[in-house]
Amino acid sequence: MEDGAKFFDEMYGEDGSVRNPYNKYGEWIEDEQSARLSKKVREAETVFRRTGITFNVYGNEQAAERLIPFDIVPRIISAQEWARLEKGIKQRVRAINAFLHDIYHRQEILRAGRVPQNLIVGNEVFLPQMMGVQPPGNVYTHIVGIDIVRTAENQFYVLEDNARTPSGVSYMLENRETMLQMFPELFSETKVRDVSNYPANLRRSLAACAPPKCEGKPVVAVLTPGIHNSAYYEHSFLADQMGAELVEGHDLRIVNGRVAMRTTQGYAPIDVLYRRVDDDYLDPLNFNPISQLGVPGVFDVYRSEGITIANAPGTGISDDKAIYSYLPDIIEFYTGEQAILENVPTWRCSEPESLTYVLDNLQDLVVKEVHGSGGYGMLVGPAASKQELSSFAKKLKAKPAGYIAQPTLSLSTVPIFTKKGLAPRHVDLRPFVLVSPNEINITPGGLTRVALKEGSLVVNSSQGGGTKDTWVLEE
């Protein structure tokens, strides 16, 4: 990372000129006093604290509630760039849903030999209980977050698909609210596409997937593991914004073949459960028997079409990091088209020749756990010490199928505001996708995560990353 100049910066060209989407913003920030901006930053932090927009960090008792640092420089995407991303994401999400339907029904893709059978059947995120189950509206992934990185003017890669319970959308919404409050003048200068409809769209999209047994207006509830979960704020935020009940497992029970919540007036049935609880914890009778978070029997109600579970159980088989490398084939198989958005080249350590390559080049690669998330347990080769490299190599040899490796990408940078002025930092992008039986809806923009430490490529909030407001410009 010693040579910072090689990275593509989204705001400034190599000659220091401001790139097109940032034209107006560049003029604005040039005229701004650094002192005023510093004051605004402090104000924003006060607002976040008062609003309680915090997240919990696992394994860190002292900082039990932390703010995700917010940077005031927006990340700006042109209308043309977005149009291409949107098209690529739609294609990908459509393929993911077709793949899930196939995997849990006829498994044509396995028969055709396009994806190896043992990768599915032997995979711990494959849910045999879902075989032959038809989710209401045939939607598996109601909410998807696609992680995208950029390495050059026209080079975007999909880094990860999040098809289980992607989080971060509350930050997308709150970041925009904060920017609107702090710098209203920016938004009258530049036409930025609105994101505030997301909760209403989410509700509509979930309601459109209501199960056959739903009578009248669908009742939607958000299932949270509870107040100690790292994303609890988001769960309550979304429930609030959708006008849905926020429930925990012990509020629910099965009554007359429906999932019902305990209200002050007795038990009332729920039609759509937007669960933010992992598959394993969903139902102690059908999955992990020691789970306290779920509802005994909810999966049986699901199978008899008494409730919609969003996302459907078992979607992890589509965003598993070992499956990821097959996504281009999966897209081609179900859509008959080439993937519009590229995958990052990936070595599957389960394959002996790949493993050899990965072990030989560990210092240049990023190695991830197949089932990991949140940046926990990954190795960033170029940033690791000799000791870290050799101890990771041991783990890798012990369980090769548990890992994949990718080249260290030259992630694009966007400036952040620091005391010494603007400074480039690496970013990624997570657009949020809603899937209903009739449409795929993508909120323009998404969550931009930014590595606040100079040179760092790890953007995860749990690892010290921050966020930015993401602007998609109107045509």
């Binding site: 309680g52 429930v247 007036q265």
Partner: protein, 313 residues
């Protein structure tokens, strides 16, 4: 509304009410300690009893001296009713029921929590105590203001209010329970200076010393005080006032849900007992007995409400 949400609202406002009441109690005790050095320990002991924390206190302390008592009531997390513990619980409940609160109520609660956390990070020095106590009350008042100014008058509001008034009735009754003897006629005949201080202390602990004076001029007498705190529906911390409001809010729920429960009967019976009583009558049955029974019935009502509206299952 979820039963759990109703329960969390109920407890959120009980805890907020408790914070205010505790700070009033400390205020009253502090004043006595400043003016009556000899009986100070006794006063602090009775304040700890009023807070219902005598056993816990004696587990960690031997003496009822000012700094121990104040710290125990304000900051000690081993004391579940301390201001810090109650604030933590209130804010946790607020986070749990965030979807039921307006943004303003949540933010006022959160800000109250942040302010008190900072304020009570270290033991409060004697010279800073009056300021600290008024900050606590002011922050709690801001939450109440947000509640009144922004919340819909629906079941959410009702459960919060019921929590407030049950806690307040309990608090006022406890003050009377611990201090009843200074209000008894036999002792009041003495009319010593000590009694005056005691009476003043009772009024102060419910922030009613000025109201009482408005209504009665300079004539402070024990029967008048008991009457004021138990039966006067104009005093916002009297038992009667609390029960008028509890019954009111329960009636809203009954109308709103189209269903009556045992708790309605119990609350009405308690209100009737207050309405149809005179202070002479209460002294005749025995002030202590009356109050003891009231505390028990008030507790039982809380449990009945919890059951009838399925707070826990």
């Amino acid at each position: 509304m979820l039963g759990k949400t109703a329960g969390d609202l109920f407890w959120m406002f009980r805890c907020l009410e408790r914070i205010e009441n505790t700070s009033r109690l400390i205020d009253a005790g502090f004043r006595i300690a400043l003016t009556r050095h000899t009986s100070a320990a006794e006063e602090w002991a009775s304040i700890i009893s009023t807070a219902g924390a005598r056993e816990q206190f004696l587990e960690c302390h031997n003496e009822f001296d000012a700094s121990n008592v104040v710290d125990f009531l304000l900051r000690d997390t081993a004391n579940p009713s301390s201001v810090v513990s109650s604030m933590e619980a209130a804010r946790n409940n607020a986070r749990l029921v965030r979807t039921a609160l307006t943004r303003e109520v949540f933010e006022a609660t959160n800000e109250c929590w942040m302010t008190l956390k900072e304020l009570l990070k270290k033991p409060v020095k004697e010279r800073e105590l009056p300021d600290a106590l008024s900050t606590i009350r002011r922050q709690a008042a801001l939450v109440r203001a947000a509640l009144h100014g922004t919340m819909l008058r629906n079941d959410i509001f009702n459960f919060g209010r019921i929590g407030t008034f049950l806690e307040r009735a309990d608090n006022t009754a406890r003050i009377l329970d611990v201090k009843y003897y200074v209000l008894l006629p036999s002792i009041s005949l003495v009319g010593s200076h000590l009694d005056n201080v005691q009476w003043d202390m009772i009024l102060r602990s419910v922030s009613a010393q000025r109201s009482y004076r408005w209504l009665n001029g300079g004539d402070i007498n024990p029967k008048g005080i008991a009457d004021f705190l138990i039966l006067d529906g104009r005093l916002p911390r009297s038992l009667a006032y609390c029960f008028i409001n509890i019954v009111d809010n329960l009636e809203y729920l009954a109308t709103n849900y189209g269903e009556r429960h045992d708790c309605h009967e119990q609350a009405n019976a308690l209100l009737d007992r207050l309405n149809s009583n005179t202070i002479d009558n209460i002294f005749e049955i025995g002030l202590h007995e009356f109050i003891e029974e009231f505390v028990a019935d008030n507790n039982a009502l809380g449990q009945q409400i919890e059951m009838d509206y399925r707070f826990n299952g």
